[in-house]
């Protein structure tokens, strides 16, 4: 078997099994509703066929979902509120902005914590405490408070996304900036290197192998934050709004399509981080 075959075959097997279970689940979960709607003399076989094409199925069949995804992605102009691409891009932009906020905040805090003893003692506990508050509880408050002082739309969403995703960046960076061993630090001392040199030539490059795994987690958390932030606002646009309106109107197909789009965005985000990682590894001669 070729290398490709070895890599693809296990994935393909899992995919086939998942789809089979999914179809079975759709038939089972949708059976009662379909039977109620069907003509009195419908046979079981006819009802089973019906479970595959309900308008509002409890669990849509895979091919229905594919059709829904296709139509909502390709059959509307990108700037139309019916286009899933439009909603995905609204969420992705908020998440990206939140991620940038988290990057600045997380790296800034980590630098402070590593260099200032007082910050080390005072901040870390609060940073950990901040993450024990469920985002679902704090998101509506942030949205309402900011809305009252005139900030709506992008900013509250990005702040919530940033709030979720700065945490792995802080912890990864603190650990990374502290990772150089005493000998590597003594070496800098023998050169009478400045604090800035110590940072740019030792601490910062040493921290990269800690930052990159954190970035993957942070990127997906930013996306979760942005979607959650779209729920309580009754947002007009975004994947969160699609999920919310889908559940109001029982549009299960719409919900599932939005969920798939969200996981696609997460994969995309992780892919971008991975690309950055590969570039860095290349520059470092094959190892991070």
């Amino acid at each position: 078997m070729t290398r490709w075959g070895r890599a693809v075959l296990p994935l393909a097997v899992v995919l086939v099994v998942v789809i089979a279970v999914w179809y079975a689940g759709a038939a089972w979960l949708n059976f009662d509703v379909t039977a109620n709607l069907a003509e009195d003399d419908a046979t079981t076989w006819e009802i089973l066929q019906g479970t595959m094409s309900q308008d509002r199925p409890l669990l849509p069949a895979p091919h229905q979902l594919v059709a829904e995804l296709f139509s909502s992605v390709f059959e509307h102009p990108i700037d139309s509120p019916k286009s899933l691409i439009y909603h995905a891009s609204v969420t992705a932009f908020a998440a990206f902005l939140g991620f940038l906020i988290a990057l600045a905040l997380g790296i800034g805090l980590a630098i402070g914590i590593v260099h200032v003893r007082t910050l080390d003692r005072s901040l870390m506990l609060w940073i950990i405490a901040s993450q024990t508050i469920p985002v679902l509880a704090i998101a509506p408050m942030v949205v309402v408070v900011l809305g009252n002082i005139g900030f709506t739309g992008l900013l509250p969403k990005s702040l919530i996304a940033g709030y979720l995703s700065f945490f792995p960046i802080v912890t990864g960076m603190v650990k990374g900036l502290r990772s150089p061993d005493p000998m590597q630090r003594d070496l800098m001392r023998t050169y009478s290197a400045s604090g800035l040199h110590l940072f740019t030539m030792l601490r910062w490059p040493a921290s990269m192998s800690f930052l990159l795994p954190s970035l993957k987690v942070a990127a997906t958390l930013a996306l979760v934050g942005a979607i959650v932030a779209e729920l309580p606002t009754g947002a007009q646009a975004g994947l969160g709004a699609r999920l919310l309106s889908g559940s109001y109107y029982g549009q299960t197909l719409q919900i599932w399509a939005a969920l798939f789009m969200a996981s696609f965005l997460a994969l995309l985000a992780i892919g971008v981080v991975d690309l950055f990682r590969l570039v860095l590894i290349r520059r470092r001669g094959g190892r991070l």
Binding site: D181, M183, Q184, D186, L187, M188, R189, T190, Y191, S192, A193, H197, M201, L202, P205, A206, M208, R284, G285, G286, R287
Partner: protein
């Protein structure tokens, strides 16, 4: 404040220690690492500090490098305090491990001190090439540390210490982690380097043959508390090949060192 001391002449020692003591205090637990050490190291000499673990030989080297602060006594490096000497970048330091930065290529590791010292890029490249050539690693300059063996990595770290051409080289058991064959090769290399540059080398080791082969003078130390037991001049020819180690003169010096170590090291 006293006036700046006169610049060291050829006769003035590069390192001058008087009644030097150093006590480590970790949570009230006091460890005397150095006790009343007095020592002169002449310019251009190769001086080995030898002794068992815990005799303070590394601590003495680190004090000279201003990586540790003596508790009492005086220590003068190049006529200056160790701190001033360090700020003047008076010495190159080779650690027990190569301490290379893994994200830098071999060449860029050698250039690290040159970058910190603000040398122009052209000159940096020239120096890196010259000193990598000197340790026989020129063709490996684009590789990364993990692609080299332990001995090669330590050679890179020596090239790095030499790259800014310090007059004083401090080496802390640089070959301790290497196999005997690699070690022999590096000893020969280092000996020729010292002969050709005329720099002062202070070399910490616990290998008697290594100390005798390399040194013009050997400082024998004893542990608990770390002090100097004896200072032995090595009267061997200036230019030495590895087989000098089988000559009676060599063995006689080695014997004296061993006796001194034994005298300073009681198990009571």
């Amino acid at each position: 404040m006293q006036a700046a001391p006169p610049a060291p002449t050829a006769a003035a020692p590069v390192v001058r220690a008087r009644n030097l003591s150093l006590v480590f205090d970790a949570d009230g637990q006091k460890t005397v690492a150095l006790s009343d050490v007095s020592l002169d190291i002449a310019g251009g000499s190769f001086v080995s500090l030898i002794g068992p673990s815990g005799c303070g030989k590394t601590t003495l080297l680190r004090a000279i490098a201003d990586l540790e602060r003596p508790t009492s006594g005086s220590l003068v490096v190049n006529g200056l305090s160790p701190e001033q000497a360090r700020r003047n970048r008076a010495y190159g330091y080779v650690f027990q491990a190569p301490a290379l930065y893994p994200w830098r290529s071999v060449e860029r590791n050698v250039m690290l001190p040159l970058e910190i010292m603000g040398m122009p890029p052209e000159e940096r490249r020239r120096r890196a090439e010259r000193y990598l050539d000197l340790v026989g690693l020129r063709e490996f300059r684009r590789r990364f540390p993990w692609q080299l063996s332990g001995g090669m990595q330590q050679r890179v770290s020596i090239a790095r210490a030499l790259s800014f051409e310090p007059a004083l080289l401090l080496m802390d058991e640089p070959f301790g982690a290497l196999d005997e064959i690699t070690r022999d090769g590096l000893n020969l290399h280092l000996h020729r380097l010292w002969r050709s540059t005329g720099m002062t080398v202070i070399f910490v080791t616990h290998s008697i043959p290594e100390a005798v082969y390399l040194s013009s003078r050997i400082v024998v130390m004893s542990p608990r508390p770390g002090k100097v037991v004896e200072i032995i001049d090595v009267d061997l020819p200036g230019e030495r090949e590895l087989d000098v180690r089988e000559t009676p003169a060599f063995l006689a010096v080695a014997h004296r060192v061993r006796e001194a170590l034994r005298a300073g090291h009681s198990y009571d």
